[in-house]
């Protein structure tokens, strides 16, 4: 439990640090942003589940994180658009957070519907076989 938090702390801290290092010393500025999007949480989660309960469950975490990352794309896109449109830094972050939350809720309920849909199809198949 604490090991998991420590790995997340190190990976998250290192990603922000590297992102800053790149903006100061490297000529490739786009790399700073790529590091700012470093999937620290996904990697740690996959790592910890891999250690604790094997590759199949770790793969499930990776598949599940795809949905969460869509919220991240919406958040960054909102910040970028608001910054370009209004030039207001604080407003861009606040709206980025709001849009992240909204899109994450939509994606999460869509995912639930998809899961329930699959479960119903499975149930139907079992029923048909029994008949």
């Amino acid at each position: 439990m604490y090991k998991d938090l420590l790995i997340r702390f190190i990976l998250g801290g290192a990603a922000v640090m590297v992102s800053y290092l790149i903006t100061v010393i490297s000529p490739w500025k786009i790399l700073a942003g790529i590091f700012a999007a470093f999937p620290a949480v996904m990697i740690t989660a996959v790592l910890m589940v891999g250690i604790a309960s094997g590759s199949k469950n770790a793969a499930k975490i990776a598949n599940g994180s795809v949905f969460g990352m869509i919220g991240g794309v919406v958040c960054v896109a909102t910040v970028w658009t608001v910054l370009q449109g209004s030039g207001n830094w604080t407003l861009s972050i606040v709206l980025g957070l709001l849009f992240w939350l909204g899109s994450s809720i939509i994606v999460s309920s869509f995912r639930d519907k998809l899961k329930n849909g699959r479960r119903n199809i499975l149930r139907l198949n079992v029923l048909i076989r029994h008949k």
Binding site: D4, L5, F9, I10, L11, G12, G13, A14, A15, V16, M17, S19, Y20, L21, T23, V24, P27, K29, I30, A32, G33, I34, F35, A36, A37, F38, P39, A40, V41, I43, A45, V46, L47, V49, G50, S55, K56, A58, A59, A62, N63, G64, S65, V66, G68, M69, G71, G72, V73, C75, V76, W80, L83, Q84, G87, W89, I93, W100, S104, S108
Partner: protein, 120 residues
């Protein structure tokens, strides 16, 4: 900018790490559904964006934040591909090799984007 200081690096490390840990703890305390949503909170990006505010102000702050966001949106796109690939590789290669290969793919794809945007 141009000057690199150890304290500035340390501040970024602590802020980035804390952001990720806090979002993880919030996610765990929210119950399954809301927790699942908060588990994917873009903590690293927001910490990086907030620390840009430590160095710049006004138009410079906006310009640097736009540059950071431009890279981050590419990064998030790469992450989605990496997560899909990891979901495919992990059951086939085992989690250790699968995760390493997925991270290798992340690095190669990131470098390819840098090369394309810099030298095209």
């Amino acid at each position: 900018m141009g000057d690199l200081s150890i304290s500035a690096l340390l501040i970024r490390f602590i802020l980035g790490g804390t952001a990720v840990v806090v979002s993880t703890l919030v996610a765990r305390n929210l119950g399954e559904k809301a927790g699942g949503i908060f588990a994917a909170f873009p903590a690293v990006y927001l910490a990086a964006l907030l620390t840009v505010g430590l160095d710049f102000s006004g138009d410079e702050l906006v310009a640097h934040s736009i540059l950071l966001s431009k890279g981050a949106i590419v990064g998030m796109g790469i992450n989605i591909m990496v997560a899909i690939l990891a979901g495919y590789l992990l059951p086939r290669q085992g989690w250790k090799r699968g995760l390493l290969q997925a991270m290798g793919f992340w690095l190669v794809l990131s470098m390819a984007v840098v090369m394309i945007t810099t030298y095209s």
